[in-house]
Symmetry: C2
Subunit: 238 residues, 2 copies
Amino acid sequence: MTEQGQRSAPPARRRGDVPEATIARLPVYLRALHVLAEDGARTVSSEALAALVGSSSAKLRKDLSHLGSYGTRGVGYEVEELVFHISRELGLTQGWSVVLVGVGNLGHALAGYGGFASRGFRVAALLDADPQRVGELIAGQRVRPFTDLSAVVAESGADIGVIATPAGAAQEVCDRLVAAGVTSILNFAPVVLQVPDGVDLRKVDLALELQILSFHQNRRGRRACVPEQSDRSAGVPA
Amino acid sequence: MTEQGQRSAPPARRRGDVPEATIARLPVYLRALHVLAEDGARTVSSEALAALVGSSSAKLRKDLSHLGSYGTRGVGYEVEELVFHISRELGLTQGWSVVLVGVGNLGHALAGYGGFASRGFRVAALLDADPQRVGELIAGQRVRPFTDLSAVVAESGADIGVIATPAGAAQEVCDRLVAAGVTSILNFAPVVLQVPDGVDLRKVDLALELQILSFHQNRRGRRACVPEQSDRSAGVPA
DNA sequence: GTTTGTGAAAGGATTCACAGCA
DNA sequence: TGCTGTGAATCCTTTCACAAAC
């Protein structure tokens, strides 16, 4: 019913409907804007900000246009204002409570990672199933037993769970988080987890990006190791 | 499109070239295939493998078709064979040497992360500028002073550098890595780094995914914290 | 003059659907 | 029968280019 004789119907993205690709870049813009604000910059042009984050000005403007019209033609964007709007769009203005499960090496790093606190994420609790770790003090937090999970989620009102356990424990931890009422989960364990509908799951694979680097490095020719080149069975015809 | 590259992006994609989106998924397939292999599976269908990694069979088949024709109609893919071809495509069959700079919390976690070694990445050296850390033994490696960088790169033939330093030190470390001859860099510090052409830079932002989660959680309505609803300039027309 | 905001065009990626083979 | 491989269609993202606004 959208046929108006036009070649293609207007995409008609409703206001507030921000494309996924844009959302993934907003945190990057935000970080650059924070640096600019610290340096005392009051305004910034799309060209300048794009250069800072290694993007293009057109893409940046289109991204920002999805949030609203916050720039001034001939001038640029006000840094503080943009920080506010992006933060609000990302939902960072209201202090999320985060439950972190697993305080091995990675859990330690995450618990002490300044980037969480400074962006509105409060680590409400550190949990670990290992009795030897329980009671340990990390970044001002005492590690609690994993069995406290339900209580912790209830008392802190946490919506977000972070999994930094070994791969083998991750699915179980994930299930318990869901059962406790957590609806957003960030997984650092190198496994693919299953979650029911209604739960948002994202993952960070520390080795994944390294493998992508490997691909590109391999393409360019490397300096060390085997110079092998076994042929494809079908040699990619012209 | 080398991620953070300057402009100067040659738009043309050559034949036999694998799309970037596919490359980003190959490591995920690889991990699932390793699990299957451990479980003794000899073959796997696109449907089954896609379910394991949370993707679709059509996408999986199209991805694999970029590597060649390694499936058998009516049967599926041989697990071992697929592992080999994906590994080779990613350049994982030749043992990269990696230099890790910064052994704080995150550096510790990365140094001990099994996922590197098991995928063909050898941590050739751990470096830190802090004299107090130098000499420390982590995962069987002794931490060396950052000033050894050139020597380390030369003697190990490392092509890949991993930056796990505080944000403030990252650009300097990056410059030194480039000067030492490293051509692929993985950055965990929360800053955008500048590299010259010919150097491939990727980054992992531990808080970025959390912010994307925050966005989606925010969309759904949250359970805790402020129930505020500061108005948008226009109130989201239906 | 400068810079934003945005239709329109171009380019990629995903999904569809089925031919072809085991 | 079951499943892969792949053109075609669809959807999403980026780039282009310029009118409008300062």
